[in-house]
Symmetry: C2
Subunit: 423 residues, 2 copies
Amino acid sequence: MPHPNDPTLRSFISVAATSDFPIQNLPYGVFSANDGLAPRVGVAIGDDVLDLWQLAQDCRFDIDEPAVFAASSLNPFMALGPKVWSKTRARISELLRHDNPELRDNEKLRKRTLVPMADVRLHLPFTVAGYTDFYSSKEHATNVGVMFRGKDNALQPNWLHMPIGYNGRASTVVVSGTPVRRPCGQLKPPSVDLPSFGPCKRLDFELEMGVVVGQPSAIGERLTEQQAEAMIFGFVILNDWSARDIQQWEYVPLGPFQAKAFATSISPWIVTREALDPFRLHGPKQDPEPLAYLRQTQPNNYDMHLDVALHAGAKNAAADISSTNFKYMYWSSVQQLVHHASSGCAMNVGDLLGSGTISGPEKDQRGSLLEISWNGTEPVELPSGVKRTFLEDGDSLIMRGWCQGDGYRVGFGEVEGTITPAV
Amino acid sequence: MPHPNDPTLRSFISVAATSDFPIQNLPYGVFSANDGLAPRVGVAIGDDVLDLWQLAQDCRFDIDEPAVFAASSLNPFMALGPKVWSKTRARISELLRHDNPELRDNEKLRKRTLVPMADVRLHLPFTVAGYTDFYSSKEHATNVGVMFRGKDNALQPNWLHMPIGYNGRASTVVVSGTPVRRPCGQLKPPSVDLPSFGPCKRLDFELEMGVVVGQPSAIGERLTEQQAEAMIFGFVILNDWSARDIQQWEYVPLGPFQAKAFATSISPWIVTREALDPFRLHGPKQDPEPLAYLRQTQPNNYDMHLDVALHAGAKNAAADISSTNFKYMYWSSVQQLVHHASSGCAMNVGDLLGSGTISGPEKDQRGSLLEISWNGTEPVELPSGVKRTFLEDGDSLIMRGWCQGDGYRVGFGEVEGTITPAV
């Protein structure tokens, strides 16, 4: 049987070359349709969603607990572990292949299991156990450092020695399409003496990838590179919405709190680690060499294109404002996970690890408006003539990401969020 | 019917005046006994645990879903809301009163529902949805500030304007009695140029109270003082174990991460907000006056004694090293919760809010070894002659807390943790 990542595979479902969801991808999500059934697990294929719960009723799946597909989150499936993840993906791939009549020639089964994506609602794909946000792009950390501390002290002394991160707020992770209300908070621009409470005036996005942890580790246990890698179920695109003015006043000395607690948007589709395997490459050279526990023997970065478009008000068309690549990250997701557990911190099924804002070396590869507008001093001008320093009410922000194969893409769909006014 | 807080109430179960668990308390926990039954909800009374699940089989409880008492966490019960919390406590109080024959004279029922505390195992009382740690003692923040930045810049500019807090790690909240493994991490004392990875050398405790949030708030919603108060189910004693050397190197600019991720211990008993009501008082005067959203109309602090004892190695007796009071906190738990939701951050049933280290104005009222030993420069000498700056392997740390009524105490039992060597 060919490997599900085989670039020559074709499905009996026609998939455009620019679709994010060819048979080489098979990302998992949670969907509901207009059939009165509860949200359940599905897989994206072309313009359709494959209903795994319905499919498991009729097709051998070699999985002890097909009820995991009836759950409204992927956590029960993820808890079954990497062997089941692989086996399930291989079986789905087999069922969707152009040369397998099992599903292809069973019209009744096709009708019951394939739902047009246009007709479904996509839900948050997993229950977020804990949300941790890292800060692992050297370009991003340098940009922010230069802005606030000058060129000579851009990177903090610890930054090159470990993947710096902090605990985020899991309760407000939302799925793409969820409106984002402009937060209120304490604001104290340097020009005034006392803080006031009101709507954020410097609302920003941060382009990130999110690692979805699919296996737990015990309290008091550290992880090797191999163990950490095996715990990663997949990836989502992640928008770490940020209120820059709230952040600036609150974050010393304990880090960001309410500035990033109001919303974090993720893609509805989790692309599996296995599907991304063909796109792995080595990250930038790490100098100084990391301490032994953080050393890597494998290529743990990914060649993944990332685009950000801004839809500045309903009247204007969406326009690209950044185009970068996940490969630039200095610290890999595996290093982040190893470091996260290095104190003996227990990891749980459903933990979400944000990569940190992904900026590239070029000016048009910056992953936040803070950097794009250089702290509000250089407004970005869109093709419509509209200018922006930070996000305004009614603006929509759209992120896309995909790995380019030979004639196909392995992608995530989009992460969209529209700003609604503060109340 | 008398109110369950009535100081004149007595139970048919004899309770010593120094017991933490008189009829005026009735704290909730999760326990298992040697009866083969799964962990379930109980209430502490004197030296016994009252099995609510067994009790609900026989005694009218006016609660729609007595199955919540069969759960291995208090979350399902908490989710039922403040009216049910009050009604349930009143009914338990009624059943335990010396003048009510219902349980008192039913030997069979007593045997089935009252288990000696010595015979039970106490579990983590609730599933921690999110853990947030504040920094709300002015004395603690000032001590730390003086140590690291000098007297003139002790408090950061934002500290007097809002309850500073950060997201902690929920996955490693453990119940009293759980051994705490010394964490490893990156250490870079100022005297060396490069970090190394190894066991923490400056392991500390932090004496805190934890608020247990029992009701949710929606994303995008702010809270008033009254709404926040009504969401608080109760309190636990909390030890926010801290690796000072890991913290010192990692915490700029995003706050503590692995330094506080390895363990947080809480008391097995949640004392309800209602039981603590008689001990409320106004906190210290807040100057400058807080912004409108943080203003308080009620006394939201508590007159609660807090003791810390150090058992320095198995050979020596435990000795008190701090004795302070929860009343000193500058920012109240209600203000913390209001601020937490101020950006529209959704709160969940089971959220845990650490108060921050509770230090008082006097030297013997300091809530951490960092302060007691003044950053390791003034070792504390115990009656046995043993000295400590930070915790050593084999040391046990014991916290106790209670409110003193007239002839009775409303207390929490203890929070104990013993340090085991790093691996």
